[in-house]
Symmetry: C2
Subunit: 182 residues, 2 copies
């Protein structure tokens, strides 16, 4: 709404947009502080800034992606949509045909240069898009290089130490959730 | 565990595998009926069958995927992992170079043949992997062809009627959740 040059918004308007109860919106936001003013509503840019702080999105995170196959390329190209808070800074693969190429705005490096590039570029998060049988090895290398947050697209349960936060983007789970409602 | 020829499993063993409290597992399963026997545990194959019924995974669902770009190809190749309950039966694209090709085990058809193929093949679910600006049009065509469950990978909010179940597989959300813990 900030793009639409709207300066204030009421919980009623937010409720319509989000298909939520306005009272619930007021209650949820009040939990984090006094953001709104009675009879006026919320200042849009202030509210956006506060919500970013609450969700810890007031930072910029650098990503390294391992596996320049179809999925890796799709995500790297998608990079343009997510650049506000995230940026894929390096892509890793073992295929000599791919090393040295650019996908989206990031260069493809050899997997053997993972540690060096992660340190040089200050990369904080890893995305794994390699085949299932390679994924654990790749996760281990990312963790050895200091990565503490991994988004895994390989259909396999990875073992990571307790100080590493792992999230699995599992297509099967998505399909199963969807199928439940059919 | 059925693959490992284990016939019975206790809630304690399940708890170790799932990193959950055994009492919670017993309570959750008891909610759906009496599956286990005290001091013996659960019969593995019976438990699997029951859980599939609970999650409505005791069915086979046919999928149509629209958009044979990198993401569409990645998902179609991934198909082999998900074939137990789901199968991509047709892929749709407008690129004449792609129409007639096979990706994984499914053929690529022209988008104009969507309705015909969905009816012929009894396709029940749709996956959208087209660019954001094409996604709403594709969703409308899927819905017109009778599809009532859509998994959308395009980074855009689709409008669907209330009788259509839509799920968004949004990379940004995944990354944001992950970033929260960093």
């Amino acid at each position: 709404m900030s793009d639409l040059h709207i300066q204030t918004v009421s919980s009623y308007e937010l409720g319509l947009k989000l298909d939520m109860n306005p009272a619930q919106i007021r209650k949820d936001l009040a939990y984090f502080g006094e953001f709104g003013r009675k009879g006026i509503g919320y200042d849009v840019s202030y509210l956006i800034e506060k919500i970013k702080q609450i969700l810890k999105l007031d930072r910029f995170l650098k990503i390294g992606l391992v596996g320049a196959g179809h999925l890796g390329i799709a995500i790297s190209n998608y990079n343009q949509y997510i650049k506000e808070n995230f940026s894929i800074r390096a892509i890793f693969d073992t295929d000599p045909q791919k090393v040295g190429q650019k996908i989206g705005s990031a260069e493809v490096f050899h997997l053997d240069d993972l540690q060096r590039e992660i340190e040089d570029k200050g990369i904080q998060m890893g995305i794994i898009t390699v085949p299932a049988q390679e994924a654990q090895k790749v996760a281990d290398r990312l963790i050895d290089a200091g990565i503490r947050a991994i988004l895994n697209f390989a259909p396999v349960n990875l073992k990571v130490p307790p100080n590493v936060y792992l999230r699995n983007a599992d297509l099967t789970t998505e399909l199963q959730s969807l199928a439940y409602y059919l």
